[in-house]
């Protein structure tokens, strides 16, 4: 395999993704595809949440579309989106030289550590809905956060057996930095010399406008409450069946409940006190799924 540093520097959004995939494939990662459900972050993907548990080593990378209904700005804000992409890497157990490997990935996408100011700034990570936490940093490149780096300590309320190193790149933000764009919508999606050159805005601007309106104004809250309750019920049923627990389908329901909660939160129909209760309910599902996943290990 050619050394990733030999590859030319990415010039557009999709080349950034390709460069990262190529690099991490070279580091022994399984290159997975996005999880086919709405989720708030790449951490929710089974390849991270569930695989972080148990004694089996694991290395994977994938792009995960992430939905944060509350962050919608109707396409008006150049830095904020309700739908964006994360590039997620998980290395379990975390190798001793994980930081060097990570800095290698920056070289691979055209950030030369010798020309920039790279800093690891304390940022502990916690996901109350997943019952997960870890310690790590935000990685700053010339003052900009380009990566979230976390050593997982607990997932689903369960102490991990092997510590995973989780590396999450916010792709749009990173691309804006690399390609020097002030607005996410101006990012070149494909190469400028493509037959049909396309910007990020051409692909997603309308989506941001319509989805923001949906998230903030139109989503049927009655329905969303119902979806939450249904997902919660189904999850419990799948884990409480005497014919055996179905951890993965149950976890899908947990993801659904989490997204329904995020939508309800964006619609502003959940009060501060209720909020804690809902987060607790999703966490209970996540915890039960993680336990079932470990029990069903063969």
């Amino acid at each position: 395999m050619p050394s990733p540093t030999d590859s030319p520097k990415p010039t557009c959004f999709q080349e950034l993704v390709l460069a990262l995939q190529h690099y991490w494939a070279g580091e022994g990662c399984v290159v997975l595809q996005p999880y086919d459900m709405e989720m708030g972050a790449g951490t929710f993907h089974t390849a991270t949440t569930l695989r972080a548990l148990g004694p089996a080593p694991w290395r994977a990378c994938y792009v995960q579309p992430s939905r944060r209904p509350k962050d919608g700005r109707y396409g008006d804000n150049p830095n904020r989106l309700q739908h964006y992409y994360q590039f997620q890497v998980i290395l379990k157990p975390s190798p001793d030289d994980i930081l060097d490997r990570y800095f290698g990935s920056l070289r691979a996408i055209g950030i030369d550590p010798d020309l920039h100011d790279l800093r690891l700034v304390e940022d502990d990570w916690e996901s109350p809905t997943l019952g997960a936490w870890g310690l790590g940093w935000e990685v700053w490149c010339d003052g900009m956060e380009v990566t979230q780096f976390t050593y997982f300590q607990q997932v689903g309320g369960i102490e991990v057996e092997l510590v995973s190193g989780e590396i999450t790149y916010g792709l749009e933000r990173l691309a804006m930095y690399l390609f020097d764009k002030k607005s996410v919508y101006e990012l070149p999606f494909n190469r400028a010399d493509s037959a049909v050159p396309v910007t990020y805005g051409e692909v997603f601007l309308r989506n941001e406008r319509e989805q923001s309106a949906y998230n903030f104004e139109r989503a049927d809250t009655e329905m969303l409450f119902r979806h939450f309750a249904d997902a919660e019920k189904e999850c419990a049923a799948l884990l409480g069946n005497s014919n055996g627990k179905l951890a993965l389908p149950a976890y899908d329901q947990c993801i659904k409940a989490s997204h329904a909660f995020n939508m309800l939160d964006a619609r502003g129909v959940i009060s501060v006190t209720e909020r804690q209760a809902y987060i607790g309910r999703v966490r209970a599902l996540a915890k039960a799924c993680c336990e079932a996943w470990l029990e069903g290990r063969t």
Partner: protein, 698 residues
């Protein structure tokens, strides 16, 4: 004598934990050295982003013999105690222990005599114990190991007397142990390969060559000096910020300050917004122009020297700041489109506390209480205030909590409200009250003085305090999750520094009405008294005197309370005061002793004096003096002439002294004795008019 050098190289340690870690490491190491009989000249400790270092100076090369004794259980103690002792001391049987007599009886002692020897033989274990004893605010495991450190630990450098120490730290799990060595690494990007260290001075020098300044004090000094120089060159003044210098010194191993420029289009943003963006989010130093207004330069401290002289780094940081400020500008523009008044319904979504309702309900209460405060205040402080402005400011004071900017920068609460209120053209005093009502935030913070601001700030605190008192969520010990002590201190400062004449109990009751809940007002008042003691201690006001004044009637006007306390303190400092206190105690002691002997005496001596029973001239003189002092003190107190009241009491000193000299209280004549006790009781009640002297210490 020899030196010991220990360096723990890890991944990046959070800046806020470094100073403490360096202290802990030195202390733990010194304790263990001492316990092993290794005296030393001193320790030094250094911390930085990637390394924690301890140096021990003046260690002996050879350790003297040490005798260690451990006291065990009493001779004849139960078998399990004996066994525990033997096990703990590593003895096989009691034959190996010694019996010794002590003041408390006969005890078993385990005496271990350890032969001395080369110091280096015991150091590895001391180092391992020290490392294992370190505790971090948060620690983590990594890889497949079970050992926890603040972030993954990569190497341990241990050099004693110029030679590497053998030893290893077990990381648990499947991880290979971390072997001690005499090698380390320099700057993550500005040096490569390993560096071999022979001795302490060399370590500091070699690391400097490898672009690492080991000592955080030196890093801070470099930052301070270079930031200053750069600012002079750029024709601006740096906003001095020692806390930021210290934090940045914990983020870099090789500080390289660089100056960037703020895009002109953002220069009209409120300075607080720009400073928050730069300082809190990016750790940049803000700069000022000659006239004190914001300059368009900022200083970032990089951890890197680049071939382009930092051009890319500056450009990158400018870009980041541009994005941050663009975000801020977006909020600033959006927020100003909505009037604060129109934000009020959104406050219904924000729960203040599950049992105390929403922020919306809260501002309604604050408005009601603020209006009451204005109505109740007696000195005329609010004379020229438009009560509608007070009410308006109170209702709008939390509206900026639901603005975009405060959502993004919570520390700008109040500040943004003031800007938005001004933008809407609300009266200046309303805007200022919205901005200032969170003050005073702490001891060093200025206290509002503008009447509208004072009314809202005080109402906010009274609402908080009565609210939490009504649901019995009061501070206990060190637990004060809702910041009620600070709230009470703030209220006290608002009252005292503005000379507000309020009866607190009445003000509490206004707040209770707003809450539609009852509180233990006396308990809350006592809480205020406690806070007041803390508050005025620094001014040298005696806490027992506050008790003495507070005790008589539960004085709830803090201004009057303090004036009285101060007059009392002055009086007690004079000869008259001291003597009167002695006389008071003498009278009180006699009465108390008699009351103890005779049941029902208290009731008998409570009544009026029998004029005819005043036989001796001294008795009559005292009775007259008491009546006159009582009347004069009462008049003086009414007009709040506390010095006058004290002067009236001072008149009692002579008659009381003469009375005690010449008159026998406990005579055989019952009637006479009772009347004289009445006279003594009156001394107490008269003096107690001014303050409860029994609470005054010495």
């Amino acid at each position: 004598m020899a030196k010991l050098l220990l360096e723990l190289l890890s991944e990046e340690i959070p800046a806020r934990m470094q100073a403490r870690a360096a202290q802990d490491l030195q202390r733990l190491l010194a304790d263990r050295l001492t316990a092993m009989g290794l005296a030393h000249a001193g320790t030094r400790g250094f911390a930085g982003p990637r390394r924690l270092v301890a140096v021990v100076d003046g260690l002996p090369r050879v350790r003297p013999d040490v005798e260690e004794e451990k006291r065990g259980p009493r001779v004849g103690a139960p078998e399990n105690a004996i066994q525990g002792f033997l096990k703990g001391a590593g003895l096989q049987s009691l034959d190996q222990a010694e019996k010794r007599s002590t003041e408390k009886g006969e005890f078993w002692f385990a005496v271990t005599r350890r032969k001395g020897g080369p110091t280096e033989a015991v150091l590895p274990q001391i180092l391992i114990d020290t490392i294992r004893a370190m505790s971090w605010p948060k620690s983590m495991k990594w890889g497949s190991g079970t050992f926890a450190w603040v972030r993954p630990l990569h190497s341990i450098l241990a050099v004693f007397d110029g030679k590497p120490l053998p030893g290893q730290l077990d990381l648990g799990g499947n991880m290979p142990p971390l072997k001690f060595g005499n090698r380390t690494r320099g700057h993550r990007f500005l040096s490569s390969g390993q560096i071999t260290i022979d001795e302490v001075a060399g370590y500091i020098r070699q690391l400097r060559a490898a672009r690492v300044i080991v000592d955080p004090v030196e890093r801070a000094a470099v930052i301070r000096a270079k930031v200053e120089t750069l600012c002079i060159q750029a024709g601006v003044k740096v906003q001095h910020d020692e806390a930021l210098i210290d934090e940045v010194a914990g983020l870099v191993e090789w500080p390289v300050p660089l100056v960037g420029t703020i895009d002109a289009v953002f220069m009209d943003l409120p300075p607080e917004v720009m400073v928050t963006s730069m300082r809190t989010h990016q750790r940049y130093f803000a700069t000022l122009r000659e006239d004190g207004s914001m300059a368009d330069k900022f200083v970032v401290v990089a951890n890197m020297i680049t071939t382009d002289g930092g051009t890319e780094i500056i450009a990158g940081n400018e870009r980041v700041l541009r994005a941050r400020l663009a975000d801020a500008r977006f909020f600033w523009d959006q927020d100003r489109k909505i009037r604060l008044e129109d934000r009020l319904p959104a406050l219904k979504q924000i729960v203040f506390h599950a049992r105390l309702g929403t922020q919306y309900e809260r501002v309604e209460r604050i408005a009601a209480v603020a209006r009451e405060i204005v109505a109740q205040e007696k000195s005329g402080f609010f004379r020229d205030v438009d009560v509608n402005h007070v009410e308006q400011a109170a209702r709008l004071c939390k509206a900026d909590l639901v603005s975009g900017m405060v959502g993004e920068f919570p520390e700008l609460q109040g500040t943004m409200g003031r800007y938005y209120a001004r933008h809407e053209g609300l009266p200046g005093e309303v805007a200022d009250a919205i901005g200032d009502h969170y003050s005073p935030r702490g001891v060093g913070d200025a206290c509002p003085t503008a009447p509208v601001s004072v009314a809202v700030a005080l109402a906010d605190r009274l609402d908080t305090l009565t609210g939490f008192w009504s649901i019995k969520e009061t501070p206990t010990g060190s637990r004060d999750p809702f910041g009620l002590r600070r709230a009470a201190l703030g209220a006290i400062r608002l009252v005292l520094e503005n000379g507000l004449r309020l009866d607190l109990i009445r003000a509490f009751s206004a707040a209770e009405t707003a809450h539609a809940a009852a509180t233990d007002r006396d308990d809350l008042l006592a809480f205020f008294e406690d806070r007041l003691k803390v508050q005025v201690r620094e001014q040298g006001v005696r806490h027992d005197l506050i008790d003495a004044v507070f005790a008589l009637s539960g004085e709830d006007d803090l201004v009057r309370l303090l004036a009285r306390v101060k007059a009392l303190q002055e009086f007690i400092g004079t000869d008259d005061g001291r003597d009167l206190l002695v006389a008071y105690n003498r009278a009180a002691n006699i009465v108390r002793a008699e009351e103890k002997k005779e049941k029902g005496l208290a009731a008998k001596i409570a009544g009026a004096l029998g004029e005819k029973l005043l036989q001796q001239a001294e008795e009559r003189a005292l009775a007259t003096a008491l009546a006159s002092a009582d009347a004069r003190a009462a008049t003086a107190l009414d007009s709040e002439d506390f010095a006058g009241a004290m002067a009236a009491l001072a008149e009692l000193r002579k008659p009381i002294d003469v009375f005690f000299d010449r008159v026998t209280v406990n005579t055989d004549q019952t009637e006479l004795r009772l009347n004289r006790l009445k006279l003594l009781a009156r001394i107490r009640t008269t003096i107690d008019r001014v303050a409860d002297f029994s609470r005054i210490e010495g």
